[in-house]
Symmetry: D2
Subunit: 142 residues, 4 copies
């Protein structure tokens, strides 16, 4: 699969599976979080986030659609797109196992300081967001 | 707080917190799962679920709204309501810390066997669902 | 089973299981941590620990012996004993499923402040430790 | 740092941290498990493990020494050595953050089938083990 978007690859860990022999659903949120962090590093934004800065992206809302399972040792690829809407940051994720889209997700964030008070994202962060590509029809479940 | 609905109480564990000093978002899904299991036990349905039966409730979709944080040692109460729509089972959750609603969630399930093949819920399960109360306006974010 | 010691009961969550159908080993550390916290609450020590105080019990070393598995919905009971050795606090745990001892563990701690600097435990904490009973031969694997 | 041994690199995830701002101890067990899996893949042994085979390495005992903390976004390197003692497989781990050894661990395993019955490791696995290097004095805490 090769969607024209940032992506992050990871193996499913054994500890990520559950008694049904598949990845437990709560772990997909960790995969999405790891993909956001990898995207920030790829865009030179690590310095704008805790612990390098006093800011984090707090989560206001998320939703996840599970279409197919995956399991231990599977290589999953998380594609990600991001856009800004005022102070809110939207991320969308399409997770693939090989050629197959197995999961879709979206998360809604606001930047906060380490006291959890909402703050304006740093200019460096805003500059990057302006250059990101967003496709409204990316997620088939929305 | 006392909503007229099934509820499940639990303390936030230290391992549930993150570096912002609050409960990491992925753990709310575990709290909701624990509440579903507690509800099944309270309704005498434990026997209809793995490992006592070959059935589990697979998760198709969920969404979560975070309104306020909670942290280590907080006592949180998960209120839950459930209804059936054909083969789909809907759960909604309102999570409180003291008098304050801090989180809302909904999850959508289908019963599957241990090969993950969708199956009809057992009669015992369907009977219970018929007697559950559902309030359409329960979640303020929907 | 009824060992003459503090104990903490909890159900194994579905998310605690792995693809072998049993509780994944890393979760036993969470059960031990929850048992320590329950012990602190039972001894009126919650106020001596973060977030109510600026102190936590940092972990220096632990070991765990797995004798038998457990799985989803099992009720496990964590027995715990604790003693002080200078600035170090030793905990030992015997975990039961019904009448059967399935796991043994020990953890070694030192009190630290929120900057992770070792500190002397509060007098209230030391007073409690003096009254705790310790049986040298409690763990069969040591 | 460059110990002459197999190693596995990974970033500390945000979800791995706790309210003290450091990696929660239970996650080190996941890092060690990931390192074992990476070692198996590097030695062409993935096919000898579930889900590609009906075997897994069950955990009998482990111990972990924490010497220094690490936190979100840190790059940690897990060095690993392994040896066989009859049916038992010993792994040792030295975890580094930069030049500093922050954690040591050892885990003791036995091969089991998917019913958790102990089995003899596959010849392919035994052949690899014979060629692994083991340094008795590797861990400073033992």
């Amino acid at each position: 699969m090769s969607l024209d978007a940032f992506h992050y690859d990871r193996r499913v860990a054994f500890s990520d599976t559950d008694a049904m022999g598949v990845t437990h659903h709560a772990n997909y949120l960790r995969y999405c979080e790891e993909a956001r962090v990898a995207w920030m590093r790829a865009r030179d934004l690590a310095e704008t986030h805790w612990p390098h800065s006093d800011r984090v992206l707090a989560l206001l809302h998320y939703q996840v659609w599970h279409m197919r399972p995956c399991t231990f040792d599977d290589l999953v690829r998380v594609y990600l797109q991001v856009r800004r809407d005022g102070l809110k940051i939207h991320f969308q994720y399409a997770i693939y196992k090989g050629e197959e889209r197995i999961c879709e997700a979206e998360t809604l964030h606001v930047a906060v300081d380490t006291k959890l008070k909402p703050v304006r994202p740093l200019p460096q962060f805003l500059n990057v967001l302006e250059k990101e590509k967003w496709t409204e029809t990316w997620l088939s479940n929305l």
